[in-house]
């Protein structure tokens, strides 16, 4: 069974179709890189998966069940979410930011989990009491990752999470993400407009253009055998 499926999903902003009749299922336990030009519908697709957007038609199926828009909490708590920029709550310190999902779920044992996650992303325990504005961009992004992983979700949704980082830090975090995936594999949807990044970390690629899915296959296949001219030009234009 695949964890995330789209069944004939369309989404319209006023009258423009941001996503048209998308039907597909994401392979579980793999990192899928979602690529496309700006405004192609990448972020829209991600927001449809965790219910931040509601499809105009069609159905989003998560963990075998259609999303219940009256009660999204259950599904969302099983999907870590990271956005571009930091998305960290400026009024909460690192520990509170990381453990926020635990708090809303009413969990007690948060401290040890926070230390565990900090160690995982290579940050010292002393970071716990710092506030986001005391951290560098890379540190903030690592904390964001810890927060998304706090409940050990089976799914991670990442919306251009590394877009604002310098190349070196970016590379480091990409490696950390791959390490994490080696430790325990999750279904990760990773939106990026950087082909290099997609090649480096994605096992599957989803190419999208003007709201229409162009190709979904293993990274290798997409690179070697682009489904059409659009995919081909996208790969070529952003490769080097």
């Amino acid at each position: 069974m695949n964890t995330i499926e789209l069944v004939d999903v369309s989404y319209k902003y006023s009258d423009v179709a941001a996503l048209s009749q998308a039907s597909m299922s994401f392979e579980s336990g793999k990192i899928t890189g979602i690529i496309g030009k700006s405004g192609s519908g990448k972020s829209t697709l991600l927001k449809l998966v965790n219910g931040l957007l509601k499809p105009s038609t069609g159905e989003v199926v998560v963990f075998g069940k259609p999303l219940d828009y009256q009660n999204l909490q259950t599904a969302r708590l099983q999907m870590g979410y990271m956005v571009q920029g930091t998305g960290l709550f400026p009024h909460l310190n690192v520990e509170q930011n990381i453990s926020i999902a635990g708090r809303i779920k009413g969990l007690n044992t948060v401290t040890s989990r926070v230390s565990e996650l900090l160690e995982l992303v290579g940050l010292a325990n002393s970071y716990k009491s710092k506030y986001p504005n005391q951290l560098s961009g890379g540190e903030q992004q690592r904390i964001g990752l810890c927060r998304a992983l706090f409940l050990d979700p089976a799914v991670l949704l990442m919306d251009e999470p590394l877009g604002a980082l310098d190349p070196v830090t970016r590379y480091e975090i990409q490696q950390e993400l791959l390490n994490l995936q080696r430790l325990s594999s999750r279904t990760i949807l990773f939106v990026t407009h950087d082909m290099l990044e997609a090649r480096r970390i994605a096992e599957r690629l989803l190419v999208i253009d003007r709201g229409v899915i162009q190709q979904y296959d293993t990274t290798e296949t997409v690179l070697l055998r682009p489904a059409n001219a659009l995919v081909k030009s996208l790969i070529e234009s952003s490769t080097w």
């Binding site: 931040l52 969302r76 956005v83 400026p90 708090r103």
Partner: protein
């Protein structure tokens, strides 16, 4: 059964004995003196008296009496006939009958003096323009009139006087307590006065003769409701015929210019008439008096503020969630803000009577807008990315509010509360007009008595209070504001 009803009767009369008698007064010198004379007389005879002085004008006092919030206050026959019964031609007997019939209210025998309205000018102008009677004003159209607010609006006031005498002047409005100094300094030429005003002799003014007999008789009497115990009525009747016009003018002048307190003047009068044995000395020191009124002031402000927060914050949240309602509601609370404080207090009287309740309600209404608007703005200004993330993480609407939106809106909410608190400290000084006490007591009395040091007794602590509140909130904001925002704000 008989035994029981006797017991009940004894019980009820004991109850009424223990109940304080609430003595009201309009906020002007003579009213204070008469009320204080009554209060001391009642106290000397074992009654407990609650003083409710400084009640706005006739309407405030009369409404308060009718609603049983005060038990009696000194009034003038002419005021009752023209303002309340709307028939200036009624005589004493008719007034008595009409009041009892229409309102179940009663009046005492007259004290013995007539305090009619009159027009006054300086002796200098009187000689220069040959002004001796009101008719003489007709030719002198260049004279500047300034009349008290109450006189401008009375049924037997300016409009009728103008018609009767054929006057064509256009008067300005002025607070009566300020009129005499304006007259002295030549800013105005003619003002209305009470014929027993102490200022007339003090400033050597000329009271223009009412040559066409326009003004009705304004005999001072006590008006009371049926709650007043028989024994108290009998005591008040002992004052009938004891105060002539000269004596009243002298007592007014003693307070206004002789440096005596109202309590001293009242008790000297009672002692001279052998109505009480000992002169009453109020032991309240200035400090404790100010401290008491400051406490009352804070109490009014604080209760109103807390109520406003309890209503505004949840309301702002509801509006935040239902944005289509936001504009109309914010406009409406803004509209409340534009009602002048005195008008709002006056509107309160028919609904809530006088005292603390209407004052708190009025202050509450004024505090609504700043808190509501700042809370709403604060919530709306939270970074949409953070709202998105909160949703994505799986927070419910309430969790998002609690963990993200409210903490981030806190600086804005606190600023709103601070604004409301400072506005309330200022506005609460007007609460004295409807008998709610507070520092306004000094200011209102001081204005009525033209007594600057008394005004300052209220105005300085009020200013200090506003400043302290400002400092307190700056400090509170610093503590409550989330750590990361602290450095950005002041």
């Amino acid at each position: 059964m008989v035994r029981f009803s006797t017991l009940l009767l004894v019980f009820i009369s004991a109850m009424t004995m223990a109940q304080p008698i609430r003595v009201g007064s309009k906020h002007f010198n003579e009213g204070y003196i008469l009320s204080e004379i009554i209060s001391q007389l009642l106290e000397a005879n074992g009654f407990i008296v609650e003083r409710k002085y400084n009640l706005g004008g006739t309407v405030v006092c009369f409404e308060a009496l009718r609603r049983g919030e005060i038990d009696l206050y000194p009034e003038y026959s002419g005021t009752i006939s023209s303002e309340i019964l709307k028939d200036p031609k009624l005589d004493y007997k008719e007034i008595q009958n009409e009041l009892a019939k229409k309102y179940l209210l009663y009046i005492s025998q007259p004290y013995g003096f007539n305090n009619s309205y009159g027009l006054v000018c300086t002796r200098e102008n009187s000689e220069k323009y040959g002004l001796h009677s009101i008719s003489d004003l007709r030719q002198q159209t260049q004279l500047q009139f300034a009349l008290s607010y109450e006189y401008l609006r009375r049924v037997d006031g300016w409009d009728s006087l103008k018609l009767k005498y054929g006057l064509s002047h256009t008067p300005n409005a002025i607070e009566h307590g300020l009129a005499y100094s304006a007259l002295q300094s030549g800013k105005i030429d003619v003002t209305d006065a009470y014929t027993t005003d102490g200022e007339i002799s003090k400033y050597n003014l000329v009271l223009l003769e009412d040559d066409q007999k326009f003004f009705p008789l304004y005999s001072a009497i006590t008006i009371y409701n049926r709650n007043l115990p028989e024994k108290a009525k009998a005591l008040i009747e002992r004052l009938s015929g004891t105060i002539g016009e000269d004596l009243m003018q002298a007592m007014n002048a003693d307070v206004l210019f002789g440096g005596e307190t109202i309590a001293q003047v009242a008790s000297r009068f009672l002692k001279n008439r052998n109505l009480i044995a000992l002169t009453v000395t109020r032991t309240d020191s200035v400090i404790s008096e100010i401290a008491n009124q400051t406490l009352t002031h804070l109490e009014l402000t604080f209760i109103a503020l807390v109520l406003a927060i309890l209503v505004s914050v949840p309301l702002a949240i509801a509006l935040y969630w239902n944005p289509s309602w936001a504009s109309p509601v914010v406009y409406f609370t803004g509209l409340l803000q534009t009602i002048p404080s005195i008008a709002l207090l006056a509107i309160m009287i028919p609904i809530f009577g006088i005292g603390v309740v209407p004052a708190v309600i009025a202050l509450f209404l004024y505090a609504l807008l700043p808190v509501l608007r700042n809370t709403l703005m604060g919530l709306q200004a939270v970074d949409p990315v953070l709202k998105n993330v909160a949703d994505g993480i799986g927070m419910t609407r309430f969790q998002k509010l609690r963990y993200v939106e409210l903490p981030l809106a806190t600086p804005s909410i606190m600023a709103g509360i601070r604004t409301a608190a400072v506005i309330n400290i200022g506005t609460a000084t007007l609460a004295a007009f409807i008998g709610a006490g507070g520092l306004g007591e000094f200011i209102v009395s001081g204005l009525a008595l033209n007594n600057t040091s008394m005004i300052l007794k209220g105005a300085i602590p009020a200013a200090v209070l506003a400043l302290l509140i400002e400092l307190l909130f700056t400090w509170l904001e610093r503590i409550i504001t989330p750590a990361h925002l602290r450095r950005k704000t002041l």
